[in-house]
């Protein structure tokens, strides 16, 4: 689809003026009704410094510090990965400008404050995964990494992404993945920031015909953490898989939001979301699947399960279907409850202690989502889950 040419500078300036007009979303905003971001709204964040120190020279490794990427000259990649600054790639900055959802508060905030971003093009099958490590630090600092990754027809890539660090700051990454005809993107993301941090992320995925996107995420860290994924299936026969695990404890807030637009016939989307909530944590999963009139033969499937471990935790679910085509198979399922007492009894009757049995059942519930994945994605995601279970005070 041809876009108007929009330079990154103009994109940022437009976003800044929208952010000045709209600011942060309020509780009356339907997309934010379950997620209270008063703590973020009240804080005056100062954008991170653009100077960066400490870089890595590993292959296929990109290091971001407070949202700013290491100098491109210091990076080295396998064949097939072409990395540029977004300010130097008008094609991808225009694609990003066209993809940003209208009136999206977080995207506008991030783009308004971002100084630059990365534009990565993948033009063939790349065997080694691309690692993107986002390191954050400092109180009252906001970080806004912007990354656009385009897989040309037939390309294949695995991305391992990590967000970590400490300090009472805000991270607001905005990413766009354009998956062209027949290309495959395997994407594993882990959010393991420390307990005082806020994370509001937006991921946009655009898929052309016969492309495959499989995104898996573990959300384990941060005080308020929201990850929003919007997938647009633009051409026929594309497939999208979104799996997520969210883990909440203390007074943390977890928000997994997804939207899948079936804009073309014969596409498939599958979503599986498992969450565990302990202590006074709160969570919401809101997932919308929209099937346009001409998107016949759509297969849309969504399953959300939440386990509540404590009396003070709160789980919210809003799975939404909006369907205008008749020859479709769409379904969603949602359950909320505690550990199955029969299963617990079974384990305990075999001599396993109560706490241990509970751990085992929680682990099994979470592994269900990631166990079938291939390494290195599997390993990347299991680690934070196991860490979370181990450090859980029962």
């Amino acid at each position: 689809m041809p876009h108007d040419v929009v330079s990154f500078e103009r994109l940022a300036a437009d976003a800044a003026s929208r952010y000045a007009d709209n600011g942060w979303p309020g509780s009356k905003d339907e997309a934010w009704r379950f997620t209270n971001i008063n703590a973020i709204r009240k804080t005056e964040f100062s954008p991170a410094d653009t100077a960066i120190t400490g870089t890595s020279s590993e292959i296929n490794f990109i290091h971001f510090i407070n949202g700013v990427h290491q100098p491109i000259d210091n990076m080295s990649f396998n064949d097939g990965i072409i990395c540029q600054k977004l300010t130097d790639n008008a094609g991808l900055s225009s694609a990003l400008a066209a993809a940003i959802p209208h009136g999206h508060h977080v995207a506008d905030f991030a783009l308004a404050h971002a100084s630059d971003g990365l534009a990565i093009t993948i033009d063939q099958v790349v065997d080694n995964p691309l690692q993107m490590i986002f390191d954050y630090s400092g109180d009252g600092i906001s970080s806004h990494p912007v990354v656009v990754i385009k897989l040309l027809p037939g390309a294949d890539l695995t991305i391992l992404e990590e967000h970590k660090g400490d300090g009472a700051g805000l991270s607001a990454p905005v990413m766009l993945f354009c998956v062209e005809e027949g290309a495959k993107l395997h994407h594993a993301r882990r959010l393991i920031e420390s307990d005082q941090r806020y994370h509001l992320g937006l991921n946009l995925v655009q898929q052309k015909s016969k492309s495959v996107y499989s995104g898996d995420m573990v959300m384990a860290g941060g005080d308020i953490t929201r990850s929003e994924t919007q997938v647009s299936l633009m051409e026929a026969d594309a497939q999208s898989y979104l799996n997520a695990v969210y883990l909440g404890r203390d007074a943390q807030m977890r928000d997994v939001t997804s939207r899948i637009d079936h804009d073309a016939p014969d596409c498939q989307s599958f979503q599986r979301i498992h969450g565990v909530l302990d202590n006074q944590s709160k969570a919401v999963f809101q997932g919308k699947v929209k099937v346009e009139r001409y998107a016949q033969k759509t297969d849309g499937n969504q399953m959300s399960r939440t386990l509540i471990l404590s009396r003070e935790a709160e789980a919210n679910t809003k799975p939404e279907l909006e369907i205008y085509a008749d020859d479709v198979t769409c379904s969603h399922g949602a359950t909320i409850g505690e550990l199955d007492s029969d299963q617990l009894f079974y384990l305990m009757s075999r001599g396993i202690g109560c706490d241990e049995a509970r751990q085992m059942l929680i682990e099994a519930f979470l592994m269900d989502v990631v166990d079938a994945l291939d390494d290195p994605k599997r390993e990347w995601l299991i680690e934070p889950i196991e860490h979370w279970i181990k450090t859980r005070v029962s």
Partner: protein
């Protein structure tokens, strides 16, 4: 049959489809158009209401003035001009008929056309009927027989006069005046409706029924129903609605409040067949209704069953507040939309007490260019120990120009509560159609059969009198949608 003849036949059928589209020509006493404090004073005076009722209405009006039309539903309609409606219209000689003989024979004929067993049929049907015509309740049958067991079944306007303590104690206690825009409007201008009181331990000896009819042009109907079931009592209540075929939209904004005490049960069934507008979406009723039941007592039960085939716009969420320990809420719904109809309907189940249970079965069928949305809320409060909810909402699409949407909200604040939700969307499969057609059924019979099968879980919850009517209605509503 040639293609042209087939089309002509279909058009004829389609245009003659709404059999309740007639107008009854009787003298009417109408309030001038528009809404103001004076209109409310006038309604209150017409109804010879006590002062407290007038004050209650004026308070609601003040609240309404400060509110905005809700816009969150998936509905499209031009703004409603609330000053262009008659808020009161009454058949002229309807001032308290002592018996059915005093009721205008024209009216009785109307009810006969509607198939309401108001007169001779009353004995056969064994159903006590309260019929509300425009703004006034015109006849309530079987009152003596009900009075023997202590059941009060009368127009709410009479209850305000004769049982003020009961009305005062319960009206607005389940649906507060300012709950939403339309409840505030209804509280200010409601003209009539039914009042039911079932005393302790009484099982109501017959099914109670109300038929609502909007007849007069440019009128709105704002009825209010209040049903109180005391400890250990039971009542089954049926509600039916029709309106004439008109090019303009008419507003219907009702409020229904149910209260059940310990071990009491209310079964509330609705067959809503307001005029849906023509094939191009011209005319039809705007149906903005708030229905809510409070299970106040332990082990009490409220069950809503609805078959929605009419109205240009349906905005309706019959809900249960499950307060009493072990109380049960049920919602069984079939919503059929065809042509340009729009429905945004569903339920709310608020679990407050321990061991409360709720079941939601919703079947949405969209045809033509219609849009049908299920919108539901299940909320488990911290005290809802071991509460259970099961929700199933299935949508069926007939044709490729319609939409089916599902918007459930699920919130749980108690780990021992279990919530399960399932939703599917599909269409009538070619295999099913082929099977029926090759056995000699017409397309329309086949659609009706398949759709009724799809809705079976809900239909079996309807009282017998309604089940037959509802099945036919679904068939009629979908005529012309396939082939």
């Amino acid at each position: 049959m040639s293609a042209t003849a087939e089309t002509v036949r279909q058009v004829e059928e389609a245009t003659g489809k709404y059999k309740y589209g007639f107008v009854t020509d009787i003298e009417v006493d109408k309030a001038p158009k528009g809404l103001s404090e004076d209109t409310i004073r006038m309604i209150s005076a017409k109804k010879e209401e006590p002062e407290w009722m007038l004050e209650w209405r004026l308070k609601a009006y003040a609240t309404w003035l400060k509110m905005d039309d809700p816009d969150w539903a998936m509905l499209n309609y031009p703004p409603i001009d609330y000053q262009d409606i008659h808020y009161y219209a009454a058949p002229k000689n309807a001032d308290g008929p002592k018996s059915l003989d005093e009721v205008d024979p024209e009216l009785l004929r109307t009810y006969e056309k509607l198939g309401i067993p108001l007169h001779e049929q009353e004995m056969l049907a064994g159903v006590a009927v309260d019929a509300v015509f425009d703004s006034v309740s015109v006849a309530t049958t079987f009152r003596e027989k009900l009075a023997e067991v202590g059941v009060i079944f009368c127009p709410i306007s009479e209850a305000i006069k004769n049982h003020p303590d009961l009305v005062k104690a319960y009206i607005g206690s389940v649906v507060p005046q300012g709950d939403n825009y339309f409840t505030a409007l209804n509280s200010a201008v409601f003209t009539d409706g039914s009042f039911v009181y079932i005393p302790k331990g009484v099982r109501c000896p017959m099914e109670l029924s109300t038929y609502f009819r909007i007849n007069e042009k440019d009128t709105g109907q704002f009825e209010r129903t209040l049903i109180i079931a005391e400890e250990g009592s039971y009542v089954s209540y049926l509600e039916g609605c029709t309106a004439p075929q008109r090019d303009e939209n008419q507003l219907h904004a009702a409020v229904v409040e149910l209260v059940t005490m310990d071990d009491a049960e209310i079964k509330y069934s609705t067959v809503q067949n307001w005029y849906p507008g023509d094939e191009n979406g011209k005319g039809g009723i705007y149906n903005f209704v708030t229905k809510r039941g409070a299970c106040r007592g332990a082990r009490s039960k409220i069950s809503w069953t609805q078959v929605e085939t009419g109205s240009a716009i349906t905005w309706k969420y019959p809900s249960c507040i499950l307060q009493g320990e072990g109380s049960v809420g049920e919602f069984y719904s079939v919503a059929v939309t065809n042509n340009a109809q729009q429905a945004d309907t569903g339920t709310k189940m608020i679990h407050i007490g321990a061991n409360t249970k709720s079941t939601i079965i919703s079947k949405g069928i969209s045809a033509g260019r219609s849009n049908n949305t299920y919108r539901g809320l299940v909320r488990m409060m911290p005290g809802a120990e071991n509460a259970r909810n099961f929700t199933q909402c299935d949508s069926l699409l007939v044709g490729d120009q319609c939409g089916a949407h599902t918007v459930p909200y699920i919130t749980s604040r108690n780990p021992s509560a279990k919530v399960e939700h399932e939703a599917t969307t599909s269409r009538i499969s070619e295999d099913q159609m082929f099977y029926c057609l090759q056995r000699g059924m017409t397309t329309e019979d086949a659609v009706s059969l398949i759709v009724n099968g799809f809705c079976k879980e809900v239909m079996k919850e309807l009282p017998m009198e309604f089940a037959v009517e509802a099945q036919k209605l679904i068939g009629i509503s979908l005529e012309g949608s396939v082939g």
